[in-house]
Symmetry: C2
């Protein structure tokens, strides 16, 4: 909730924008930070606007669909700083759905577990690769740090997975024939 408003406000600081534009920016540039959907972005912008945190002005080019251009105002800046402080100061609790599968790997033959975890690793490598390739045309220090964080966490996942797979393969009841 809060972090979505923070994101929208933050993006409006660098320039006034309309909803479509903001969502488009998020989708093409920040797919590793959030997957906020269009309808959600529009709804939040309207809510921020109703709360007087952002101002609206309707623009229109020719007979193209009119666009609502949002600009952050003083109240919005105050809210931004408040949300930013809260966000920076708190370590959000992250739950990993994948941990639940791990909990029950005793119920499978080691070979099967290794087979599935190898798939997980491939999946992960693809994601890691994608983050690597992200163009950082935005040279903002902060955005860079956020990307570094994301990359580091993916690498931790990858290193954990590799260790775990090795460990399982080293177990006495692992049948090497299946490879």
């Amino acid at each position: 909730m809060d972090h979505r408003s923070l994101l929208l406000l933050g993006l409006l600081i660098s320039q006034s924008q309309h909803g479509y534009q903001i969502h488009d920016f998020i989708e093409t540039n920040l797919p590793f930070i959030t997957d906020m959907k269009k309808a959600t972005a529009y709804a939040h912008l309207e809510k921020l606007s109703k709360g007087k945190y952002i101002d609206v002005s309707v623009e229109q080019e020719g007979s193209r669909p009119p666009r609502k251009v949002y600009s952050i105002n003083n109240q919005g800046m105050e809210l931004f700083y408040q949300l930013l402080a809260e966000n920076l100061a708190a370590a959000d609790t992250v739950f990993y759905e994948g941990d639940i599968g791990l909990m029950f790997l005793d119920h499978l033959p080691v070979e099967d577990t290794v087979h599935y975890l190898n798939k997980r690793r491939k999946d992960l490598e693809k994601k890691h690769h994608a983050v690597q390739l992200t163009p950082l045309h935005d040279t903002s220090k902060g955005v860079n740090i956020a990307f570094q964080h994301k990359k580091k966490m993916l690498e931790a996942e990858l290193s954990f997975l590799n260790e775990t797979i090795q460990q399982l393969k080293a177990s006495p009841d692992y049948n090497k024939e299946v490879e």
Copy 2:
């Protein structure tokens, strides 16, 4: 969704249990794996029961409130293996809310950012400490691995935070007087 059913089914394999008991177990033993709420657990158990994946029998001790004891059946075991395979094979996409704050740290004086991130670090250290202290009376290999994963991810967070704070402190416009 899926991972919640997987968890409940998995816990029912080791023993038949009633909802209160299962939720109690989760709350006291798995606070780092999930924070599934009571109402959610009950609802999922009822859904699994309606889907014929688990059987119910009502027990009652004296005049205490009756309890619905759930047992996993063959259909449930099949579902369990299917959900387990899917869970193990997929790397779930994790978004870190904290990344959004990081993105905008350019908008604050470095000293403020450092101050907030130090708070974040304390918060994180507390969480890391708590995981460290978790009693692993359950000696299941899988549960252990899941906990190791959680621990490793927290350590990656911590290491990232330390590096980032150091980096910020090393920036030319960081004023050491404030410490």
